[in-house]
Subunit: 199 residues, 2 copies
Amino acid sequence: MNSNIIDNLVKTLKILPGIGPKSAQRITFFLLRNKQIGIDLYKSLNDVMLKVNQCVMCFNFTTESICSICSNQERLNYGQICIVENPADVFAIEQTGQFSGVYFILFGCLSPIDGIKSSDINLDILENRLKKNIIKEVIIATSSTVEGEITSNYIAGICKNHNIIVSRIAYGIPVGSEIESIDFNTLSHSIIRRYEINY
Amino acid sequence: MNSNIIDNLVKTLKILPGIGPKSAQRITFFLLRNKQIGIDLYKSLNDVMLKVNQCVMCFNFTTESICSICSNQERLNYGQICIVENPADVFAIEQTGQFSGVYFILFGCLSPIDGIKSSDINLDILENRLKKNIIKEVIIATSSTVEGEITSNYIAGICKNHNIIVSRIAYGIPVGSEIESIDFNTLSHSIIRRYEINY
């Protein structure tokens, strides 16, 4: 590459998750050959950087001060709050259409090893919100990792202190999977948490 | 996602090569969480879109009207021109330090199936340049694909018409590879084109 300007774009693209040096170069040349897409990307990026902030209720990204879910009175009154790690989780759960309450995004998990404490992932703010007695049920949808479990246990503790129903999304075999390909832990959980078939 | 602005960025990122829907979402959330990187990307993109154009000699991307390689009198006088498909190939060959001439970028290959003719990949411009009798040797570095070979043969034909030496970069086993893992065609080439060891 003979231009610092082009190099700078490659270097910045390389910082993005999942983009290595080769991809960054490929994307740069693609944008140079397809200038309209480059201009579209530039405009979208400008919009996002200038207009998007975080919802004061759930911390999801939004262009308003309160996001469309938290400002929906029906969903607020439903009394359920779903605790997730990332905005992408909200997106995934919304697609299922199985949840009618509001969300709370932690942006991470408790991790003693990495020194991430409860206040780093807004758990103090969550506790203050639970104290207000508007929430009837907390649904914990953190990852099924060590950190996710620690975080889940911590939140369950808060709920217990405030006498709020708390649940964890189910472990089990993924839909469409073959039993023989499922790992030991998942299969154990799916047997322990089996449900009776009513016929 | 509850915002059109965020959706637009995801949609635009999805168009980029090698970026699927999940990656596009992941990058978007990453940029929202790391606004400085988003701003850097925005600035780099703006610079590239506004300031970069194509070299009038080799068609590589540059911020000048003639790129740094084509404006280097020493390289021009060397009398060699290397024909490549993409700017990334120039970058790769420059890194070897084995080539002292100038380049010519086709931005594609001849492809009768896709209806790509010689004028679509600037071969008419190349022929005009070769007519001027300044180039002493043409080195063809197109891909080792059907299209790359067709293009190579076409260029070799032009060179023959104008009595210019023409060469093709060598086929053979990649450095560091094990013979048993090399495909039949490559191994055939590497045996046919074997070189005598002088000791």
